[in-house]
């Protein structure tokens, strides 16, 4: 059993692309944690999708053994954190398993909003911060300016900041020594009842959930019966260990150590991030602070493109849910799209990832309905209804008022783009709070935004108006009264539920007009006139018509070549399966997808 004074638990805070994964790779190399064969670039990101997007979605922890200049062998636990605004809570839990963090800033990009927000989380957890300027080899590097930003941010001294190039392997040895000297060892009580923090879990189809823990007090080993504080379920531990690239079983995990355990847990939903584990015999009295059951913020209907795939879609979601506790879904039916599921996501990225995983790993093509946030509808009879789908919106006559979720947010931008950022923010119904100028090169704009206005494409827009320089971060939602309405789309007088949206009244007219117009171009001419209307209640706001088809016959069919024409027909027949029927009107899938891409 290793003494706690030889343990260092730390994490890396960095903005996407600032070099976190490469730095992690260098640390693994320098400590010979992995053989060359195991060494892939960015080993910590082990899902294909993560590697492609360059984002670490699921956190992991890797144990390094480092022989320091003082000749002692240290156990370094590198706890990786997700790097996207959708996953703030997971980051905070991973950080609470650490005693220190490496704050990595790109020498040419400087500090970004995401970095700042994660840094605040680290400071809240009283972690030691080791500031690092990375990518100093780049010609565009301006380390002095970046150093100034960092000093402004954390109040360190200039000489405390390490300079390195993870790509070139510069500054790595110095970094390892700094970790040993500056980050405190964990200070758990080995004699106290076992208590450990769950900071991640991954599903393994053979062994059940692999739970990542930081042992705070006591120790755990095979055969111990453990229980989770949040739901009280009990499990018998069948393996504990640490991770290098693969799991390495160990005798036990004791106070201060980070590692994994298996206990035949069938669903990751039972292993909530932030939960506390203790033993059934001699349990700890209280859980660790900070556990919150995370809630989905974005809801969307997921429907199979081809109705017959419903069962397969359900099975795919079941499997995804096994290793993604933050995904929620319930069956839902739509008159236009048939059988599907109402799914809750942490944010848009999460939704995109799920959609893409369904396509890649389960071969499921799906139609998403317009994502919604969760509204609180105050009824005249004083009851309150939670609504996350337009179809659940009660009759306007019975509604007293509606509250929508807002978030406090910070946008960090170079001053050149303040004007554009403010225009965009006003357009998104942002409520301006103030502007701070921590450095001449960066302004921090604070706004309260309706969540629905920023989850969609706000981030992309922000990036494009600021040439990629501005960044966004936001907090946990709070509710505020808002003038929301339900906008319905009618096709030949039938309401198409899958195209309805909940929208702010001021935006409804423009949205309705552009969606009906877009639909007009996407719905092919049918054998009768198709009237597309946008309506709020019984009031028609927008109207477009698709003229009836007058002729569709390719007259030529001779020379005995029946094959070609039949193959065309059979291709069209396959296409027809992807058409959705509303009354007599055939609506192609693209029409539903178009609703997701309407420019307001």
């Amino acid at each position: 059993m290793i003494e706690q004074k030889y343990i260092r638990n730390f994490s890396i805070i960095a903005h996407i692309d600032h070099g976190k994964s490469t730095l992690a790779d260098r640390l693994l190399e320098a400590t010979s944690t992995l053989t060359d064969r195991q060494m892939r670039s960015q080993v910590l990101d082990d899902m294909d999708l993560e590697r492609e997007r360059g984002i670490t979605i699921k956190a992991h922890a890797i144990r390094l053994s480092y022989k320091a200049n003082d000749e002692h062998i240290y156990q370094l636990n590198l706890i990786d954190t997700p790097g996207h605004v959708d996953f703030t809570y997971e980051v905070s839990r991973s950080l609470s398993a650490c005693e220190g963090v490496l704050l990595v800033v790109d020498a040419s990009q400087g500090v970004e909003a995401q970095t700042v927000s994660n840094l605040f989380l680290a400071l809240q957890n009283n972690l030691e911060i080791i500031p690092i300027i990375n990518k100093i080899d780049l010609p565009s590097a301006h380390p002095d300016d970046v150093a100034k930003q960092i000093i402004d941010l954390i109040g360190c001294k200039k000489e405390d900041i390490l300079h390195c190039s993870a790509k070139m392997g510069l500054g790595i040895d110095e970094l390892l020594e700094t970790i040993i000297h500056k980050i405190s060892p964990p200070s758990g009580n080995l004699g106290a009842p076992f208590k450990a923090l769950v900071f991640d879990s991954v599903y393994d189809s053979y062994r059940g959930a692999s739970v990542y823990i930081k042992v705070v007090n006591g120790s755990v080993q095979k055969g111990d019966v453990i229980k989770f504080f949040s739901h009280g379920k009990q499990f018998e531990v069948d393996e504990v260990g640490c991770r290098r690239l693969e799991n390495i079983p160990t005798e036990s995990l004791s106070a201060g150590e980070v590692g994994y355990l298996y206990a035949g847990i069938k669903e990751v939903a039972d292993t909530r991030v932030g939960d506390t584990i203790t033993k059934v015999h001699h349990p700890a009295e209280s859980p660790l602070p900070g556990f919150v059951a995370i809630k989905p913020m974005v809801f969307s209907g997921l429907y199979p493109a081809i109705a017959e795939d419903y069962t397969e879609l359900r099975e795919a979601l079941e499997k995804l849910k096994l290793n993604d506790a933050s995904l929620s879904y319930t069956p839902e039916t739509s008159s236009a799209l048939g059988f599907g599921f109402r799914c809750g996501f942490l944010g848009m990225l999460h939704m995109e990832i799920i959609t893409e995983r369904l396509a890649r790993e389960y071969n499921q093509l799906i139609i998403n309905t317009v994502p919604n946030v969760e509204y609180l509808v105050y009824m005249k009879d004083t009851s309150i209804v939670t609504v996350d789908s337009p179809s659940e919106m009660p009759d306007a006559g019975k509604v007293d008022y509606i509250e929508e979720p807002y978030v406090e947010s910070q946008i960090i931008t170079p001053p050149d783009y303040i004007g554009s950022v403010m225009r965009l923010s006003t357009d998104r119904r942002g409520i301006y709070k103030n502007t701070e100028y921590p450095t001449p090169a960066r302004a921090i704009l604070s706004y309260d935004f309706p969540l629905s206005e920023i989850i969609f494409d706000f981030y992309d827009k922000l990036k494009s108006i600021s040439r990629g320089y501005a960044s966004l971060d936001y907090g946990i939602p709070f509710y505020q009264k808002s003038n929301m309405v339900k906008l319905d789309i009618l096709i030949n007088d039938e309401s198409v539920d899958a195209l309805s949206v909940i929208i702010h009244r001021e935006k409804a007219y423009k949205y309705g007009a552009s969606l009906t117009e877009k639909l007009r171009t996407l719905i092919p001419r049918q054998m009768f006139e198709v009237v597309i209307q946008g309506a709020i209640g019984s009031r028609i706001m927008a109207r477009a018509t698709v003229k009836p088809l007058r002729k569709n016959v390719t007259a030529k069919c001779y020379g005995g070549d029946i094959t070609r024409k039949r193959k065309l027909l059979e291709r069209q027949k396959e296409g027809k399966k992807r058409m959705k029927q509303v009354g007599k009107v055939e609506i192609p899938q693209e029409a539903f997808l178009a609703a997701l891409k309407i420019e307001e």
Binding site: R550, K551, V553, A555, C557, T563, E570
Partner: protein, 379 residues
């Protein structure tokens, strides 16, 4: 049961911009090689048939430009066909003719050979339209061709026309129709110009150099053609085929009613014993394979319900529609069981489909929408 024989003659002296049938520039040597190979193919194909399929009741020589065939080759080909096959009484023997090559000698020769249904590719009487299509004949050629056909005594002949031409208006279409009707051909095929991929026409259309009339106008044109030809006592017996009673093209009906037909020559299609297959669309590969005694066939196995799809698609193209009994005999189910019934009900209510009697057929108002209706009915 007698079968039909199609022969694809793949040569032209001049290539029309809209055509995507398989063809190459004609030369004497290659023509000789082609006919030698065709002789081998004819023999091999004949061997593969059942004895009762060795009777022909229609022959159709298409192309390409079959009116370019050297008479001696055609003579010999016919001799070979007659040697192997029995021709039924009163067979239908069609051959496609470009108006510019319709000389009296040529037509007389064809008549003595047994051709009894020349088909003239007139396409339009509008000079500008012919130019856009890159046709070489002029209006005078067309007049001469039809005059000679009558003078030589062809009781039956056909004229192929095209509508929906670039820059065609209701006025120029009606000029074409007036002229066509004056000729009183026993048979008219009136096709809509189809822009086929990779043709010079398609390139020009894609580049925006040529603009085709919009679908609403071509729809009106199609209805106008139907109305006018019906006034002139023509029967529309298939989407684009019109005939005076008794002059329906038996050869084409065989395609649509799915009788057996044998296609020879590169790219020619066949349907024999419920199996579709085609020759390679490449003359050198065609010659090469057959010179080694092997037929250059590509089989079309289709998917599970392909034969049913074809029966619906082809049957509904004809005015007679799909014969219920025949359908049931072939597939062991009723037509209604083979199509999307909910859609069928909508179409019956809207007056597009007439289900009454022993045949399921499209109504007159449905013909301009036939492709759309068929697409929606197929399951």
């Amino acid at each position: 049961m007698p079968i039909s024989l199609y022969i694809h003659y793949p040569f032209c002296t001049h290539l029309c911009h809209y055509c995507d049938f398989y063809k190459i520039h004609r030369s004497d040597d290659v023509e000789v090689a082609y006919f030698q190979t065709l002789e081998i193919e004819l023999k091999l194909a004949w061997e593969s048939l059942n004895p009762d399929q060795r009777n022909l009741d229609t022959i159709y020589i298409g192309g390409g430009t079959p009116s370019l065939i050297e008479p001696k080759h055609l003579d010999r080909l016919l001799e070979n066909i007659r040697k192997l096959f029995t021709l039924v009484d009163n067979p239908e023997f069609s051959l496609e003719i470009n108006p510019e090559s319709a000389t009296s000698d040529k037509l007389l020769f064809l008549k003595t050979l047994g051709v009894n249904r020349p088909v003239f590719g007139i396409q339009s009487f509008n000079h500008r339209s012919l130019k856009i299509l890159n046709r070489t004949h002029n209006i005078d050629d067309s007049f001469r061709a039809v005059y000679l056909a009558r003078a030589i005594g062809f009781e039956n002949f056909g004229i192929d026309m095209i509508f929906g031409l670039p820059r065609q208006s209701a006025k120029t279409l009606s000029d074409d129709l007036i002229q066509l009707i004056e000729f009183e051909p026993p048979h008219i095929s009136y096709y809509q110009l189809t822009v086929e991929k990779n043709t010079p026409l398609a390139i020009k259309v894609n580049d925006g150099k040529i603009k085709l009339p919009d679908p609403d106008l071509t729809g009106a044109m199609y209805r106008g053609i139907n109305a006018e030809l019906s006034r002139q006592r023509y029967i529309r017996y298939e989407i684009s085929s019109f005939a005076r009673p008794g002059f329906e093209c038996r050869h084409n009906m065989r395609y649509w009613e799915e009788g057996d037909f044998l296609g020879l020559g590169p790219s020619a299609h066949s349907f024999i014993n419920n199996q579709r297959f085609a020759n390679t669309s490449d003359l050198s590969a065609y010659i090469d394979k057959l010179s080694h005694g092997e037929r250059p066939l590509i089989y079309d196995y289709g998917q599970e319900n392909s034969r049913i799809h074809e029966a619906i698609m082809l049957g509904l193209r004809t005015s007679r529609g799909i014969g219920r009994q025949n359908f049931k005999d072939r597939f062991g189910m009723t037509v209604e069981q083979a199509i999307d019934n909910k859609t069928l009900q909508i179409f019956i209510e809207s007056g597009f489909v007439d289900p009454a009697g022993d045949r399921l057929r499209l109504t007159d108002s449905a013909f301009p929408l036939a492709d759309e209706i068929i697409r929606r009915l197929v399951k």
